[in-house]
């Protein structure tokens, strides 16, 4: 990490290096089985997804249907996972949940008779999340050209004996937002309109972290996790902090083997290129084929205990801080009635603009029409108008 950053920095000093986009075209494609499964100690059904690798990024993976999937624990109890959706196999939460100290092995038999098994994975305990909090910080964007202020989210975890030294976090962000130009006057065609009660102005947006976030306390003098930066929100670049923001942090315990799997996956797929670029390498998971020991299988049977915590950040909390406020890149087109012809009106609408406001004179006659782009008027195009079940409005 350090040296990567350093060399990047050097190349920039001299301002001579160039980085051009390069289109990835796969010549030798290998079709392999991909197993993504997780057994947790949560009272919820566990999911194993079976798919195959694919050649074109824009297509979605081929899911592997009609396989027999089961998990065996250390005393020999076998739990069968049933295929509820194509390629997605689930356990019955009333029948089976993982427990700390339990050892699990996955067994898969495909339609064409190939059998796969995982290594034995033992669930380690996970420490409690002590607190999640934020502070104003900055980060650079656009190859270092812009420095943005925002909120950095930190995590403290308890120092718990017996708990795993290796942790992984998944973040789920949900935020409430309001479009700048909700529709109060709806278009009826031919410059006719009606007044509507400003629907679809407030929505919730959901996003799951895509970056691999892992931590090892192995090189620490204590297992205490303090001020671990887990996320950064550039307040001027996103509408996350305008209304109310929520982040759910799921903390998973990992075995050393699973930790090194994630670490390698991160190294291979998320690293920056530089002149000290490391050799990319194939990532070996913990699944192997019984019939053919040389067949490569991607993926990992993850076995983790989990602890979660949610934090809200409200508009009033944000207002107390001296950080930039996001401005929607929304255009407002205003036409006075005497200058607006039907052709222009229709043209605007067919180019994705929507009518949202009509200025009327004292007699209720239109004197001005206001248009904006659709996503600035209708929040359901970028979010979900339905309030999530857990959501609590704080302000």
């Amino acid at each position: 990490m350090k040296q990567r950053v350093l060399i990047f920095f050097l190349l920039n000093i001299l301002a001579i290096s160039c980085i051009d986009p390069f289109h990835l075209e796969l010549e030798d494609y290998e079709s392999l089985l991909v197993v993504e499964g997780m057994i947790t100690d949560e009272f919820a059904s566990n999911t194993i997804q079976l798919s195959r690798t694919f050649q074109n990024e824009n297509t979605s993976p081929v899911l592997l249907e009609h396989a027999e999937v089961s998990v065996r624990d250390e005393i020999g109890t076998i739990t069968v996972f049933t295929e509820l959706e194509p390629g997605i196999y689930k356990s019955d939460s009333t029948q089976f949940t993982g427990r700390v100290g339990g050892t699990y092995t996955l067994h898969i038999k495909t339609e064409d008779g190939l059998e796969y098994t995982s290594d034995r994975c033992t669930m380690t305990a996970v420490p409690q999340i002590d607190s999640i909090y934020y502070e104003v910080d900055s980060e650079v964007y656009d190859n270092g050209k812009v420095e943005e202020l925002g909120l950095r989210i930190y995590l403290d975890a308890e120092n718990q004996v017996e708990a795993s030294q290796y942790l992984r976090w998944e973040l789920e962000e949900v935020w409430k937002f309001r479009v700048p130009y909700p529709v109060f006057y709806q278009d009826l065609g031919y410059m006719q309109y009606k007044i509507v009660p400003g629907e679809n102005d407030i929505c919730w947006k959901y996003e799951q972290s895509k970056q691999i976030l892992i931590h090892s306390s192995a090189e620490q003098s204590s297992d205490l996790i303090s001020r671990k930066p887990i996320h950064f929100i550039p307040s001027g670049r996103s509408n996350r902090l305008l209304k109310q923001y929520s982040i759910l942090v799921n903390q998973y315990s990992l075995s050393l083997e699973e930790f090194s799997f994630w670490k390698k996956l991160k190294e291979v797929t998320e690293s920056e290129g530089d002149i000290f670029e490391k050799q990319p390498f194939p990532i070996v998971g913990n699944i192997s084929c019984i019939n053919n020991e040389h067949e490569k299988v991607l993926g990992y049977l993850q076995v983790s205990a989990v602890k979660s915590q949610r934090m809200y950040i409200t508009q009033s909390q944000v207002n107390e801080l001296d950080i930039p406020v996001y401005e929607y890149p929304c255009e407002r087109i205003i036409y006075h009635t005497w200058r607006l012809y039907v052709r222009i009106y229709e043209n605007l609408l067919s180019n994705g603009y929507v009518l949202f406001w009509v200025e009327e004179d004292e007699f209720g006659l239109p004197i001005g029409f206001q248009f904006t782009s659709a996503e600035c008027a209708d929040c359901s195009l970028t979010g979900n108008p339905e309030k999530p079940g857990f959501w609590v409005d704080m302000d």
């Binding site: 060399i7 991909v34 798919s51 993976p61 270092g144 993926g299």
Partner: protein, 923 residues
């Protein structure tokens, strides 16, 4: 004897046309002047073509006689002439041909008589000097004791060659006896040794840039003959001729490049910094890892298989800015030799190549200052005498690049700092005729502070103390004591609770004794002892402040001793066959205190299979490897300018650089061999044909080689190399083979010089262990990271005038192999890509053209300050040569990038100056 070379052609019976002539010529070749003279006046000029190869003259004659014209034209050239009665002009070098001996003698006698008459018994000092000057080449010098006449037939003649009137030795001067076709060249200290039969000999002394001269010796028995040679200051155009005028057809060397510093100094490198090490990568068989990257690959060897010596001290990371510059300041480098094959038995410890860099000795005549300023660095050098017998030279260089950071748009860089400096120096003391001592030192440091995230520094330091002693004229020795240390530290300061530092250090202590002995004319024997003690602190991680909860960890220190004894003999079997054989016996021992891990059998080495720890007490032997190395080469003359050479060498290496990057990165760690990591072995077979054309001015060669490598290292997927206690669990063992053929044509003299080299070479590795995780590419041979089959290099240096020089070089090679994704898979809700076989794909070809023009101020000999400006363009074509192609996930989307380091032409202007020196050395 110089006059031998004169074309003495009998006079043509021509009618003397005693006319006056008018002639205006400027900066024309001497031959053109001759043409016009011969046309205008009925005369004939006699001279040897090679004297005036690129000799320019100017003439402004208004109604002058032929003699006057010639006097003007040849003024200060070192040539003299006479005009005979029938209008023949005969040129001679050094002294005037006399045709009027009788008259002169009579005059001389008359003069003597008259002086006697006036009762003056001494000649004036001036007159005596003149007399000596003339007579030195004709005087007979007696060497040795005539009484020993009948005892031995062959005797040793040795001596030192120095600059006239100073103690500065002349390196690379040739001492040659034409009749016997035997000769020798002087070493870095100006010493030569020649084995010759008793009797009278005419010995020639020549060197580029010096006036050639002869001495007549009567050798009765072994003895010493010291010479002083004068600089040929006026003949600047000859400086581009290789300093090593040895004939490639006749010498024993194979796969060896003696690098001409003056030529390399003309070659433009990125950022306007003359870089001898980087320029030497333009030779065939040598490939740079990549632009601005430290390290180079020689004939399929990895970067850690090259031994880099600075005055005998091994330097591990001679680079600044992670490889943008090499740390050796070219101003103080006197000599660079790169051995690719036929490595002499005196060298060992690395299996691919040896780059032997020697510092220049300080000027003994007077104090000199020189320096230079480029966009990124400034440097200065001083040299001068201490006493009559001692001199010093010191150079320093630093960067002022931090101001550039402040100008950049990147916010992180504005808050960052970067810097480096280096110092090199040497002092030489001549104690007496038989003893000399030199002390040289080297120190370089790089420091970076990046934003608020990390800080980094690395340091190289070395010192060499050397004593040269002559036991007998045919037996002499060098004794050296050397220290060389390398260390670095990385501080990570991003998170106050996880602030940590990491330190690494490798110290080397060396003792060397090397002897050279000439028992007879047919043998040259070298033998000696080398011993290197390694002390390695492989890593220490520590918290940087009190609030940091980073664990203090320290890897055990490692100690090892590598000792070698060697013997080699160059033996002339017959005039056309010479054989050189050498043996080198190494004993490598690693010592306690320290522990060693034991692993379960029938399982791959891993932290899981770790069973036991064995502790070794201090001084107890941990591992022991004795190995015998062979060095055999032979030269067979097939004709006067055609030879065939064959060689075989076996070498061992006991120290590895662990790195899973292509370039040398400053965080690479060096590791000593132990019971798990075994010594590397490299065998090389090579065969070459050498042919010279056009009186040795054009050299052509073809060399082929095959290499067999054993115990090469590789790493398991995602290996952690830093701070790893059980490093053997992430390492893999493999084999390698490399083969190639190198073609080279080189022109050494004239106004246009340069070379063209083409190489076809492959390097393949094979890692086929017992277990799945120990197999790469199904256990088949795969191209190594630096396998670049086609490689073409063209270097042209054109001396357009005495003050204007143009250099260009062109480089083409196949792109390096990279590992390419073979498919996508969905994991964690994101499309990711995966890799399979290693190095199956290549980045596009590499093509680059550079140009540099150097303009010198006037070249007056006696001038207070000499300056020159070099304008260079690196990558004129602006081609975006990809250094690497890589893929990463950004916001869940796969993005591919192609990175080029110098993706556009880089223009630089460099100013160099030299105070109180002579321009000849540099320009």
């Amino acid at each position: 004897m110089v006059s031998i070379c004169i074309l003495v052609v009998l006079c043509l019976p021509l009618a003397a046309q005693k006319g006056k002539l008018t002639l205006n010529l400027h900066d024309v070749l001497f031959s053109e002047l001759v043409d016009s003279l011969e046309k205008k006046v009925w005369c004939k000029v006699f001279y040897a073509d090679d004297w005036v190869d690129s000799f320019y003259v100017s003439v402004d004659a208004e109604y002058e006689e032929l003699g006057q014209v010639m006097t003007h034209a040849l003024a200060g050239s070192g040539f003299t002439f006479i005009v005979t009665g029938n209008n023949q002009v005969i040129l001679s070098e050094g002294h005037t041909i006399k045709t009027n001996f009788r008259e002169e003698y009579e005059e001389y006698l008359a003069d003597r008589m008259s002086k006697l008459d006036t009762a003056s018994y001494s000649l004036s000092g001036l007159a005596e000097e003149e007399e000596n000057d003339i007579s030195e080449e004709f005087r007979l010098y007696k060497i040795g004791n005539p009484a020993e006449l009948d005892r031995i037939r062959k005797v040793t003649l040795s001596g030192t060659i120095q600059y006239t009137g100073s103690d500065v030795p002349i390196m690379g001067a040739i001492v040659y006896i034409r009749k016997l076709q035997i000769g020798a060249s002087t070493d870095a200290k100006g010493n030569y040794t020649l084995l010759l039969p008793r009797g009278q000999h005419t010995v020639e002394f020549r060197r580029v840039g010096m006036k050639s001269t002869i001495r007549n010796l009567i050798v009765y028995s072994g003895g010493t003959f010291n010479m002083e040679m004068e600089e040929k200051i006026n003949q600047l155009e000859e400086v581009t001729v290789s300093a090593e005028q040895e004939n490639q057809v006749l010498n024993m060397r194979m796969g060896t490049e003696k690098i001409d510093i003056k030529m390399l100094k003309q070659i433009p490198m990125g950022l306007g910094e003359v870089d001898v090490i980087k320029s030497s990568l333009l030779l065939p068989g040598v490939q740079s890892v990549g632009e601005a990257a430290a390290g180079y690959n020689v004939r399929g060897g990895s970067t850690d298989q090259n031994l880099m010596l600075l005055n005998d001290a091994p330097i591990l990371n001679p680079s600044h800015f992670f490889g943008f510059f090499s740390t050796f300041n070219s101003d103080v480098i006197g000599d660079v030799t790169l051995y690719k094959s036929g490595i002499p038995a005196a060298y060992g410890g690395r299996i691919s190549s040896v780059m032997d860099v020697r510092l220049k000795e300080g000027n003994k005549e007077g104090f000199r200052v020189s320096g230079g300023i480029s966009p990124v660095t400034a440097k200065a050098m001083i040299e001068g005498p201490v006493t009559k017998r001692a001199s010093y030279i010191i150079s320093a260089r630093s960067t002022y690049s931090s101001w550039i950071l402040k100008q950049l748009s990147d916010k992180r860089l504005q808050k960052s700092k970067a810097g480096f400096y280096d110092i090199q120096g040497m002092t030489n003391i001549q104690i007496n005729q038989n003893n000399r001592i030199s002390l040289s030192g080297y120190y370089s440091k790089d420091k970076f502070d990046f934003y608020t995230i990390s800080a980094f520094n690395y340091v190289n330091g070395a010192a060499t103390l050397q004593w040269h002693h002559d036991f007998q004229p045919n037996l002499f020795a060098d004794f050296s004591a050397i220290i060389s240390d390398y260390s670095y530290q990385i501080n990570s300061v991003e998170n106050p609770l996880a602030m940590k530092g990491m330190r690494y250090r490798l110290d080397q202590r060396l003792a060397k004794a090397s002897f050279t002995y000439f028992p007879s004319e047919k043998h040259k024997i070298n033998f000696g002892l080398n011993s290197t003690f390694y002390e390695l602190a492989a890593g220490e991680q520590f918290p940087l402040n009190d609030s940091s909860n980073v664990l203090h960890q320290k890897l055990e220190e490692e100690r090892a001793l590598e000792s070698s004894v060697y013997f080699s003999d160059v033996f002339s079997v017959s005039p056309s066959i010479t054989i050189s054989g050498g043996l080198r016996y190494n004993i490598y021992t690693s010592f306690g205190p320290g522990s060693e891990y034991r692993y379960a059998e029938n399982a791959p080495l891993s932290t899981v299979s770790l069973k036991d720890t064995v502790y070794y007490a201090g001084g107890e032997v941990k591992s022991f490897y004795p190995n015998l190395e062979f060095r055999i080469s032979s030269r067979i003359l097939l004709g006067p300018s055609l030879s065939l050479k064959v060689s075989f060498q076996r070498m061992f290496q006991y120290i590895y650089m662990l790195s899973n990057t292509a370039a040398i990165s400053p965080t690479d760690i060096w590791k000593l061999c132990d019971n798990y990591i075994k010594p590397q072995r490299g065998d090389q077979y090579s065969l070459g044909i050498y042919r010279n054309f056009r009186r040795n001015t054009v050299e052509a060669s073809i060399e082929g080689y095959y290499k067999d490598l054993d115990n090469i290292i590789d790493y398991k997927s995602g290996a952690k190399l830093l701070m790893n206690e059980q490093i053997e669990t992430v390492m893999l063992n493999g084999k390698g083979k490399a083969y190639g053929i190198e073609f080279m044509v080189k022109k050494n003299s004239g106004s246009v010089t340069g070379w063209l080299g083409y190489t076809y070479a492959r390097i393949l590795h094979k890692v086929n262990g017992e277990y799945d995780e120990e197999i790469i590419n199904n256990g088949n041979y795969f191209p190594a990271l630096y396998d670049k089959p086609h490689d073409l290099k063209l270097v042209v240096n054109a001396k357009l005038s005495r003050r204007f020089n143009l250099t260009s070089n062109f480089v083409y090679n196949t792109g390096r192999p990279i590992t390419y994704p073979v498919g996508y898979f969905q994991y964690g809700g994101v499309n990711r890509f995966f890799y399979s076989d290693r190095n199956e794909f290549r980045v596009p070809d590499y093509i680059r053209l550079d140009l540099a023009a150097t303009y010198n101020g006037n070249l007056l000999k006696r001038k207070w300050i000499h300056s020159s400006f070099t304008f260079a363009v690196y990558n004129v074509l602006g081609r975006r040569n990809p250094y690497s192609i890589y893929f990463r996930l950004e916001e869940g989307v796969v993005k591919g990038y192609k990175m080029s380091i110098f993706g556009q032409p880089i223009f630089t202007l460099t100013y160099n100056f030299k105070i109180r020196g002579n321009a000849e050395d540099d320009f």
